[in-house]
């Protein structure tokens, strides 16, 4: 039995954003190999694993590598991909163990050995950073171990820019943290040598996206801000830059170099990278409340210098995004655990008689007082925190809710409109729009929420709008309910999150996600998608149910 057709299907699926398709294709290939008693050709295995890595399907990559090893694949390349997928999913100890074996087996100086050392350095670097200054266990020696791993390669071959730049970055970090690393060359000499190497590649026209990022990092190490901005400009306009690469650069600048977005023009490169990541196809940004505030305060000049013609526009766009995030709240149950997301809306934007009073909108399956929705958090037990507003919200950080003024069950609009005991002061409500984006063009929608309700971090996701049931060609399956489908790059976000248009108006209320979501408008088949309820449906339903009692409701 020849399974190369199945391998090709994996590569084709890898280019899609649908993780379930990738998983199915991987399973089919493994099944074919097993049934045919066939060990895959090393070259085919490498191509497939590279394809999964390139398109960031780390879950399937890990499982596929595991299965290939069990089937008898013994190529180092399989182990290397396996360990990289583990690093991506935070399984650092297992990754280190595999990489140490790989380093022992591979020939020093060979490309597989170089790659393994680089990944080993990366795993140790992450262990050091995650330790946040703790000296417990592996943390104390992790920085030196990372430096040693990168140096092993760079000492043999000083043309390895990636390893060299990481070496510089970690030596600078050690210096800043007061960690003594003995017997290493001077950082300035390393910078000079690497700069020459980059210059040569630049003249030869052989630099790739990663190299531009490395060059920017080198400029940062040398205190050359103009250089940082110039190289980042090249980096972000490079043909092969993608969300994965930008996320890696961002991680390096924030975690290793510890740049903060609000620290003048130098720190603003962080805000620019965040904006670039969010605007990139499949970009996901995870920010702490403090990072949201700092990003909103970033310097505009840096945007212009790095992004050129679109700099000012991107600056305003990102600033608006951060302002919207401030109006997104984490909803907690009495034990403090987060159960969902909600967002601030002005009453009149949903129902005129509500006037300027501020309300919280979330899913009915997150907060509800009706007897039918058992097990759901009751409004009098819920607390609401706008995490990114410590300096703006002059009221208590935890807001209590007085009542649910309007509710629609999960099987209909899945929405609860909540009245505060004491509404937050100094927060801008999210503007809402009844206009849904056109579906014929490549339109993006953005979801801001607290993923899984448990983390004190904001997840901002770039989603491709797949379809909606609104005008002009939509056909709602339930009268009065217009659904939106959009595809998130990762697992479904948090319930009750606002779904924004690219203009940062709320157009929907996120409520569900599935790997096999039936398509809209009578189209056959399913796809992996998230689902939101259009704000217009909610607005019209509120008007229908409250008309006649609206003023009473509004005056309570």
């Amino acid at each position: 039995m020849n399974c190369s057709a199945e391998a090709t299907k994996v590569l084709m699926a890898a280019t899609s954003l649908e993780e379930n398709q990738v998983e199915s294709a991987c399973s089919a290939w493994i099944e074919c190999l097993r049934d045919g008693n066939e060990v895959p050709e090393p070259e085919i295995a490498r191509k497939v694993l590279d394809g999964l890595r390139k398109h960031r399907h780390m879950g399937p990559l890990k499982r596929l590598a595991d299965n290939l090893l069990r089937l008898g694949s013994r190529g180092d390349v399989v182990y290397r991909h396996y360990s990289q997928a583990m690093i991506e999913s935070g399984e650092l100890i297992a990754a280190v163990a595999i990489l140490q074996g790989l380093v022992r087996r591979a020939t020093p100086g060979a490309s597989e050995w170089n790659e393994a050392q680089g990944l080993l350095g990366r795993a140790y670097k992450q262990i050091y950073i995650d330790a946040c200054g703790s000296k417990l266990g592996m943390a104390e020696d992790a920085l030196e171990a990372a430096i040693v791993a990168y140096r092993q390669v760079f000492d043999r071959d000083p043309t390895q820019i990636w390893h060299g730049v990481n070496l510089v970055a970690l030596l600078a970090r050690a210096e800043r943290d007061g960690v003594r690393i003995a017997g290493f060359p001077r950082k300035d000499d390393l910078i000079e040598g690497l700069s020459r190497e980059i210059e040569q590649h630049w003249l030869a026209g052989t630099l790739e996206a990663w190299d531009y990022a490395s060059a920017a990092e080198l400029s940062l190490a040398g205190g050359d801000l103009d250089g940082v901005q110039r190289w980042l400009k090249e980096y972000l306009s490079a043909a092969d830059v993608d969300a994965f690469k930008i996320a890696g650069t961002l991680r390096q600048f924030t975690e290793v170099w510890r740049l903060r977005a609000d620290e003048g023009e130098a720190g603003a490169v962080i805000a620019v990278l965040r904006a670039a990541l969010l605007r990139n196809r499949s970009g996901t940004l995870s920010l702490t409340p403090q990072q949201v505030q700092r990003t909103a305060e970033a310097d505009m000049v840096c945007f212009e210098k790095i992004l050129g013609n679109t700099g000012v526009q991107t600056y305003w766009w990102m600033r608006t995004a951060m302002n919207r995030a401030r109006s997104v709240a984490l909803i907690r149950q009495p034990d403090g655990r987060g159960v969902g997301t909600g967002f601030l809306v002005r009453g009149r934007d949903l129902y005129e008689p509500f006037g300027d009073e501020l309300f919280l909108l979330t899913n009915a399956h997150v907060v509800s007082d009706t007897a039918e929705q058992r097990g759901v958090l009751r409004s009098d037990k819920a607390s609401v925190a706008f995490e990114a507003t410590a300096d703006v919200d002059r009221t208590a950080r935890r807001h209590r809710l007085r009542e649910i003024v309007w509710n629609s069950p999960p099987e209909l609009l899945d929405a609860s409109l909540l009245r505060f005991v004491e509404p937050p002061i100094g927060l801008e409500p999210c503007p809402v729009s009844e206009l849904l984006p056109v579906t014929e063009e490549d339109q993006r929608v953005y979801v801001i929420g607290h993923p899984l309700g448990g983390e004190l971090s904001f997840s901002l996701q770039d989603n491709q709008l797949l379809d909606h049931e609104g005008p002009t060609s939509g056909k709602p399956t339930i009268a009065g309910r217009v659904l939106l489908h959009y595809r998130a790059p990762t697992e479904p976000g948090s319930s009750g999150s606002p779904v924004f248009s690219a203009d940062w108006d709320v157009i929907g209320l996120h409520h569900a996600g599935a790997d096999f979501m039936p398509k809209l408008n009578g189209k056959q088949g399913t796809y992996a998608a998230n689902e939101g309820i259009s704000i217009r449906s909610i607005r019209e339903a509120i008007a229908r149910s409250l008309i006649g009692e609206g003023t009473e409701s509004a005056e309570r």
Partner: protein, 311 residues
């Protein structure tokens, strides 16, 4: 939902999809509250693309066409103007000579009284270098001539168009497709595109009706252009009433080389003798005032467009 049909002006342009993207992004730029992201607002948009009818190939330097750099923006508009036309080559040499004389020798913008220019006389006036103005207007002369006289033109080997027939066909096709998308349907035209839009809406019986017309930096006020829009155009009843159900808004910058000769249209395109075109003076900045991006950044223009689209 609403639809915007756009039509560009003279000069070599990037390919259609890229140009449409540039126009959409130009409109979506600027601070929140002023920007109009058409797609996000549910407004579809399309471009009547005709650069390839007169120019051999699209301009590959897409970035220059949305540059905020003054010189780069100017270069993108004047660097690739193709062959110019001589009086002897013109279908009506006298007409061309008259128009050329007016365009190239008169510069009413520089004679403008200081207190009439810009807001409270504070606007700076930068004379456009003569060579650049000449290059641009030479291109304008050729393009407008070839269109108005329906010249047979071979932009590249193996392809020949009757210029007016082809561009009219494309305009009617795009407007018909736009009409299917929804209402209100607004035509936004720039420069020479305003001549094409007017010609089709006024003089092409098959052209579908639209709800509103917006002209930016238009040469429609020039007598020689109006002369060639007859039959159809008259000063007393030149408004395309049968095809424009709502308003015609004309935005101009007094120092725009194309619009400067006669920027006001209300007096030349009356409806039943009444002045109904809304002429709005919105000063652009810098040296090159004819630039589309600058018109698209105008707050008055954006306010008008929002209103016409009912956003």
């Amino acid at each position: 939902m609403a639809h915007v049909t756009m039509i560009h002006g003279i000069g070599q342009k990037p390919e259609e999809a890229a140009l449409l993207g540039i126009w959409r992004r130009a409109l979506a730029g600027g601070p929140q509250g002023t920007r109009i992201d058409l797609g996000a607002k549910g407004v579809s948009s399309s471009m009547v693309y005709w650069a390839d009818v007169l120019y051999p190939a699209p301009d590959p330097n897409v970035a220059a066409h949305e540059s905020t750099d003054e010189l780069e923006a100017l270069k993108s508009d004047v660097d690739h103007i193709g062959q110019t036309i001589t009086v002897d080559e013109a279908a009506d040499p006298e007409w061309l000579a008259r128009l050329a004389g007016r365009l190239l020798l008169q510069d009413p913008a520089l004679d403008e009284r200081e207190d009439l220019v810009g807001y409270a006389g504070m606007e700076e006036r930068f004379p456009l270098p003569w060579t650049l103005k000449q290059r641009f207007l030479a291109a304008f002369l050729r393009d407008v001539h070839h269109y108005l006289f329906n010249v047979s033109w071979t932009p590249r080997p193996g392809t020949t168009y009757q210029v007016q027939n082809e561009i009219r066909r494309r305009f009617v096709e795009k407007v018909a497709a736009g009409a299917e998308k929804g209402r209100p349907h607004v035509v936004v035209s720039h420069s020479m595109g305003t001549v094409i839009a007017y010609d089709c809406l006024m003089r092409v019986p098959d052209c579908p009706a639209v709800d509103a017309l917006v002209t930016l930096g238009s040469p429609l006020g020039i007598d020689e252009v109006q002369d060639k829009l007859t039959p159809g155009w008259t000063r007393l009843d030149g408004f395309p009433s049968h095809k424009v159900g709502g308003e015609w808004v004309n935005i101009y910058d007094r120092l725009d080389v194309v619009a400067a000769l006669d920027p006001v249209l209300a007096n030349d395109f009356r409806r039943g003798g009444l002045e109904v075109v809304r002429d709005i003076h919105e000063p652009n900045n810098g040296l090159w005032r004819h630039n589309l991006r600058k018109y698209f950044e105008g707050q008055l223009f954006r306010t008008e467009l929002r209103r016409l689209l009912k956003l």
